[in-house]
Amino acid sequence: MSNFFENVDWAEIAQACLDTLTMLGGSLALTVLLGLPLGVVLFLTGAGQAWENRWSHGAMAFGVNLLRSVPFIILLIVMIPLTVLLMGTSLGVAGAIPPLVVGAAPFFARLVETALREVDRNTVEAVQAMGATTRDLVFRALLPEALPGIIAATTVTAIALISFTAMAGAVGAGGLGDLAIRFGYQRFQTDVMLVTVVLLLVLVQFLQAAGDRLVRHFTRK
């Protein structure tokens, strides 16, 4: 049993974990930072809303759908010139973050838009009828009311990002996915594969549990 793990270099595993967590943290933060405003604007330009505008809503929705329909592994390659321009390299953790954000932000924006649509119509009207500006409506009503939905969207996005980081590993980003492919797949080191899969599993379970807890904490219904 003890020599089953003979191929596992624990220091390398630790470094890969750190890389994965850094990619996840960095890309998730930027995804929320870009996707949240995009989701709000998607919602507000939609039919019957404060900034209703069929053309800009249509253009944004098209862009979002376009990015969402490109398979992530293709996006990684297509984005290399832009990534090099932004980060100076297309390799490592730094090189992975731009494609991760471009892949996840449109997805997250759609989830935010959906969460905002779930806010009770009478509640939105009530706040408008108070004489609220659109800014008041967004910050004092829509975002607080949709907070549990937005947290759930963040959890789903974080978990999608973990699987994206594994793919990014295939084109030189490092992390647990990279380790699994180089050692587990290409060198048939099943033990390395097993360890990375278990670690990814634990990470996903932890994120889901933490997300669910936060949703419960902020739900007043």
Partner: protein, 321 residues
């Protein structure tokens, strides 16, 4: 106070939500808008605070054309017009106090002003001890009371009620209507009350308009519209509230008698029975209250005696059909 002039409203398609409505609502009255779902009631009330804009025609509130206001003017108007909703429209993420404070925050009130005003508003609607709760912890009637307190926060002159009691049970409906009647009396609020229930109009409104397929088919005092309905749509609505049921199993002459106000307290039937020798069989009937008067409506079967004289005597006391 509120005036609609030839108001049309269409949402895209061919069917118009409102097709040429003229209305005048006086300061300080409780004005009912009754009609079935799809009659255009909700659209009409949303024109009054600019949540909807008319396709053509004018909506005047205190002489100002609502549709012509710029966004800042519209926000200022909305602070003078409170609104409550069927589903209450409370923010589930805020406490009761937080909900009532929201219009004040939006209006830019100071912390001290909010701290003084919110408890007074909650006390006014009978929820003094519930400020720290979340809406999900309240009953439907309590939620609507929060809605009312919130609508009153900016000291409006007009209160719009959009099916405000339709989600409530009959007893809770009565208590909410009583509260609304109090506010009308004490604060001189002009109240526009939308409903599909004739009983609600009967209990609280001074005047009423019957809306059908986007048109105002009948307008008048509640007593006139309720006791002497002219339009068939009005009759249909009254029938639905349990009036005018067809009497069963009586072959003789039948009359429908409507009594107004003080006549309800006259011993009409027994007196006429003694004078004419005609016996009355009550086939259907109801004695009730309009907002501040009484009414009686009886379906009577006539048996024996001088029925012609009995009918003439009834006609002296009330309306006979």
């Amino acid at each position: 106070m509120i005036r609609l002039e030839g108001v049309h409203k269409a949402f895209g398609g061919t069917h118009a939500a409102l097709a040429g409505v003229d209305l005048e609502i006086a300061r300080g009255e409780v004005f009912g808008i009754i009609g079935r779902s799809g009659a255009g009631k909700s659209t009409l009330v949303r024109l009054l605070n600019g949540l909807e804009r008319p396709t053509s025609g004018r909506v005047l509130v205190d002489g100002t054309d609502v549709a012509a206001l710029d966004p800042a003017g519209l926000r200022a108007l909305r602070r003078r017009v409170g609104m409550i909703f069927q589903n209450f429209g409370l923010l589930s993420s805020r406490t009761v106090s937080g909900n009532v404070a929201l219009p004040l925050r939006i209006a830019g009130a100071s912390k001290a002003e909010i701290a003084a005003k919110v408890p007074a508003l909650l006390a006014r609607v009978g929820l003094a001890d519930h400020g720290g709760k979340y809406p999900a912890q309240l009953s439907g009637g309590q939620k609507q009371r929060v809605g009312i307190a919130r609508a009153l926060a900016t000291d409006p002159e007009i209160l719009l009620c959009d099916e405000a009691t339709s989600a409530l049970d009959p007893e809770t409906t009565r208590s909410i209507l009583a509260l609304i009647a109090d506010l009308n009396r004490e604060l001189g609020l002009t109240i526009v009350f939308i409903t599909h229930e004739m009983d609600v109009v009967r209990q609280v409104c001074d005047r009423v308009v019957v809306l059908h397929a986007g048109r105002a088919v009948e307008t008048g005092t509640v007593a006139d519209v309720f006791l002497r309905p002219q339009a068939s749509e009005t009759r249909a609505l009254i029938d639905e509230s349990g009036e005018h049921a067809e009497p069963i199993g009586f072959d003789g002459p039948i009359v429908r008698l409507t009594l107004h106000g003080g006549a309800v307290l006259d011993p009409v039937l027994t007196r006429i029975a003694r004078d004419t020798g005609t016996d009355f069989i009550i086939l259907d009937g109801r004695i009730g209250r309009l907002k501040d008067t009484s009414f009686g409506r009886l379906t009577l079967g006539l048996l024996g005696g001088d029925t012609a004289r009995a009918i003439a005597a009834l006609r002296e006391k009330g309306d006979v059909e």
